[in-house]
C-alpha cells in the first residue's frame, strides 16, 4: 500500500497495517542536527510530502528568520529571536494603534507572485500524501499585527476596528486557501493556537461567534475541492473539538497530553483523525525511553485501538534526544499490547 493510500485510509477511519508517520521539526533541529534527522528519516520514512511551491517575496520582508536578532515578516510584524533556531516572538506590531488601519494592506504580493507551477507535478511524482501548509492562521495573525493583549481586549469590547481587521485577514487567507484548492494536493492544513495549558484562551462561545464561521469558510472551499483538511492548535482545545468536526476538519493536531486523552478517545474516536502527538513539553525533551514508549501505548490504546484513525506524529524540538524520537516511531511499529476493549494487558 502506498503512503498516500495509508494516510487516506487513516483519514477515512479504515483499518491500516500501521499508522502513517509524520514528523515535525523545529528550525533549530535542521539547522544544527541535520545528520540525526537524516538518520531517523532513513529508518522511519514519513508518509507525508510537501508540495513544491514557493510564495512570493513580501515587500516588508527584512532580515533572516530563526537567527538571533530580529526580522520582519511580510505583514510587517517584527520578530525578536533570543535563541538560535527558535521562531521567536513578535515585538513590533504594525497595527498596535488603529491609526494605520485605513492604509494597511495585507501582503498580497506574496500570493500574486507565488509560484505554484510545479505543484501538480510534484503531487504526481510522489506516492506520499501531499499536504500543503496554508498561510491561514487568523487568530495568531491578529495577534502578530495588534499584540495579544490588544486583541483580547478588542474581542471583549467587540470593536468595529477589530471586525474590519478580521475581515481583511480572512479575505487574504481565503484567497490562499482557494489557490491550494485548485491544485492536486491531497490535503491542506491551517492553524491557530487556541489553548492555554488547561483551558481555551477565549470562551468557547466567543470562539463560536467570531471565529468558527470563518473557519467554516475555509473548510467549505476545501471540502468542495475534495481536499482533506488538517488543523493544528497548541494547548487545551477539547471544548472546540466537536465544532472542528462539525465544520469539516478531517484531522486535528493538538496537545493531547494537556487533555484527557482517554476522554477524547471516547468522544471523538472514529469521527476525526488524531494527527499525533506525543508530549513535547515534558516527555520528548526530558522523558526516559520507557516513559515515551508508555506514552505511545497510551495514545494507541485510547485513540487507535488497532482500528486506525491516528497519525503517528511528534514534534522534534531543538534539544530533544534522538533516542526519544526514535522510540516514538519504533513503538508505533510494535504490536498492540493492550486489550483493545479498554483493559491494559
Amino acid at each position: 500500500m502506498s503512503s498516500r493510500d495509508l494516510v487516506i485510509k487513516t483519514l477515512n477511519h479504515e483499518p491500516v497495517e500501521r499508522a502513517p508517520r509524520d514528523l515535525w521539526t523545529l528550525p533549530g533541529l535542521s539547522m544544527n542536527r541535520g545528520d540525526e534527522l537524516e538518520r531517523l528519516l532513513a529508518k522511519f520514512p514519513t508518509d507525508f510530502a510537501a508540495p513544491k511551491a514557493r510564495y512570493g517575496h513580501g515587500d516588508r520582508d527584512k532580515g533572516e528568520a530563526y537567527r538571533i536578532g530580529q526580522y520582519t515578516d511580510s505583514w510587517g510584524s517584527v520578530w525578536h529571536v533570543a535563541e538560535e533556531g527558535v521562531v521567536g516572538e513578535v515585538k513590533g506590531f504594525p497595527l498596535q494603534g488603529w491609526s494605520n488601519l485605513g492604509s494597511y494592506r495585507p501582503p498580497y504580493e506574496v500570493l500574486d507572485n507565488a509560484d505554484f507551477s510545479v505543484v501538480n507535478k510534484s503531487c504526481a511524482d510522489t506516492d506520499k500524501f501531499v499536504l500543503a501548509g496554508s498561510q491561514a492562521r487568523l487568530f495568531e495573525r491578529l495577534q502578530f499585527l495588534r499584540g495579544s493583549e490588544n486583541v483580547f481586549i478588542d474581542l471583549a469590547c467587540g470593536t468595529k476596528e477589530l471586525r474590519q481587521l478580521i475581515e481583511m485577514v480572512h479575505d487574504f487567507e481565503m484567497r490562499d486557501i482557494c489557490m491550494w484548492a485548485e491544485t492536486d494536493v491531497d490535503g491542506v492544513s491551517f492553524m491557530d493556537d487556541w489553548g492555554a495549558q488547561n483551558s481555551l484562551l477565549i470562551s468557547p462561545d466567543m470562539w463560536r461567534e467570531v471565529f468558527k464561521p470563518l473557519y467554516r469558510n475555509y473548510c467549505d472551499v476545501l471540502r468542495e475541492a475534495g481536499k482533506y483538511i488538517f488543523f493544528h492548535s497548541d494547548g487545551y482545545i477539547e471544548p472546540i473539538y466537536e465544532d472542528l468536526i462539525e465544520i469539516g476538519v478531517h484531522a486535528v493536531n493538538s496537545q493531547l497530553f494537556c487533555m484527557d486523552i482517554e476522554g477524547i478517545g471516547e468522544k471523538y474516536r472514529g469521527r476525526v483523525t488524531f494527527w499525533g502527538e506525543i508530549d513535547r513539553q515534558h516527555l520528548l525533551p526530558f522523558g526516559t525511553i520507557d516513559e515515551i514508549r508508555n506514552a505511545v501505548r497510551r495514545v494507541r490504546l485510547a485513540l487507535d485501538r488497532g482500528q486506525g484513525g491516528v497519525i503517528a506524529q511528534c514534534e522534534w524540538g531543538k534539544h530533544d534526544p534522538y533516542e526519544n524520537i526514535e522510540a516514538v516511531y519504533d513503538e508505533w511499529m510494535e504490536p498492540m499490547d493492550g486489550d483493545v476493549t479498554g483493559k491494559c494487558a
Binding site: F152, A156, H282, G317
Partner: protein, 221 residues
C-alpha cells in the same frame, strides 16, 4: 462594607473600567471602577480600605474564576484594566506612604525566552492582590534578578518560561537567587513547568494560574 466598595469590587470583577466603556455589555452606561473610586475617596473612605475591601476582593473573585476555567483571558484583562483605573486614584496615597502594599514581587521571563503574556497576567493579578509588582520584562538575566533583589530586600520573585529550551536558565536563576538570598521565596510558572520541576530546581512553588501565586504570596506575610 460600604455599598460603594461593593460596587467597585463588582466593577473590577466584571471588568467595568469607566462610564464610557462598552464592556461588559450588561453594565453599559453605568459608572465604572474609575468614577466609583474617585467618589469613594471624595466620601473620605480610607484609601487603604478601598484597596483591601474593594480592589483586592474584586480581583480575587475574577482570579479564582479564571483558575476554575469559568472566565478567560479577555475577562481577566478587562478586570486588570478596571483595577488599574482604580489604582490611578490611589497612587498618591501609595506615594505618600498612607497606603502600604503587602510586599514586593519581582517578576520576569527568564533569559532566552521572550514570551510575556503569561507573565503579564500573573503580574496584573498579583498587583490586584495588593502587592507592588516590579516587572523586569522578558529575556531577564540572573544578574538582573539579583540586582532587583539587591534593591528590594525581602521581595519575592516570580520566574516565567514558555520554552523547554529555556527551562535550564530558570534552574540557574533559581539557584543563584537561593545562593545569595536563601530566604527569598521563588515562584515559577509557564506552560512546560510543573510542580515536580519546581521541586527539582529548588523553587518554593509552582502555580498553573495567577491566583495561586497570589494566595501563596499572601501566605508568606
Amino acid at each position: 462594607m460600604e455599598e460603594i466598595l461593593t460596587q467597585i469590587a463588582l466593577c473590577i470583577e466584571r471588568g467595568k473600567i469607566n462610564l464610557e466603556s462598552p464592556y461588559p455589555p450588561d453594565m453599559k452606561g453605568q459608572p465604572g471602577a474609575d468614577e466609583l473610586t474617585k467618589q469613594a475617596i471624595e466620601q473620605e473612605i480610607a484609601p487603604g480600605k478601598i484597596l483591601s475591601d474593594a480592589l483586592v476582593p474584586g480581583m480575587q473573585v475574577v482570579g479564582e474564576k479564571f483558575a476554575k476555567g469559568e472566565v478567560y483571558i479577555p475577562d481577566l484583562l478587562m478586570s486588570a484594566k478596571a483595577m488599574n483605573a482604580s489604582m490611578e486614584h490611589l497612587k498618591p496615597f501609595f506615594e505618600s506612604g498612607e497606603v502600604k502594599t503587602r510586599g514586593v514581587f519581582i517578576i520576569g521571563t527568564v533569559q532566552g525566552d521572550l514570551h510575556d503574556i503569561g507573565k503579564n497576567l500573573v503580574g496584573m493579578v498579583v498587583k490586584g492582590g495588593g502587592w507592588e509588582v516590579i516587572d523586569l520584562g522578558v529575556d531577564v538575566s540572573t544578574e538582573k534578578f539579583i540586582g532587583a533583589l539587591d534593591q528590594n530586600p525581602g521581595a519575592a520573585v516570580g520566574l516565567s518560561a514558555l520554552l523547554t529550551t529555556t527551562m535550564p536558565n530558570m534552574e540557574n536563576i533559581v539557584k543563584s537567587i537561593k545562593e545569595k538570598y536563601p530566604d527569598t521565596k521563588v515562584i515559577i510558572g509557564g506552560a512546560p513547568i510543573n510542580e515536580s520541576y519546581a521541586e527539582k530546581i529548588g523553587a518554593d512553588a509552582y502555580y498553573p494560574d495567577p491566583q495561586g501565586a497570589v494566595n501563596f504570596l499572601n501566605s508568606t506575610v
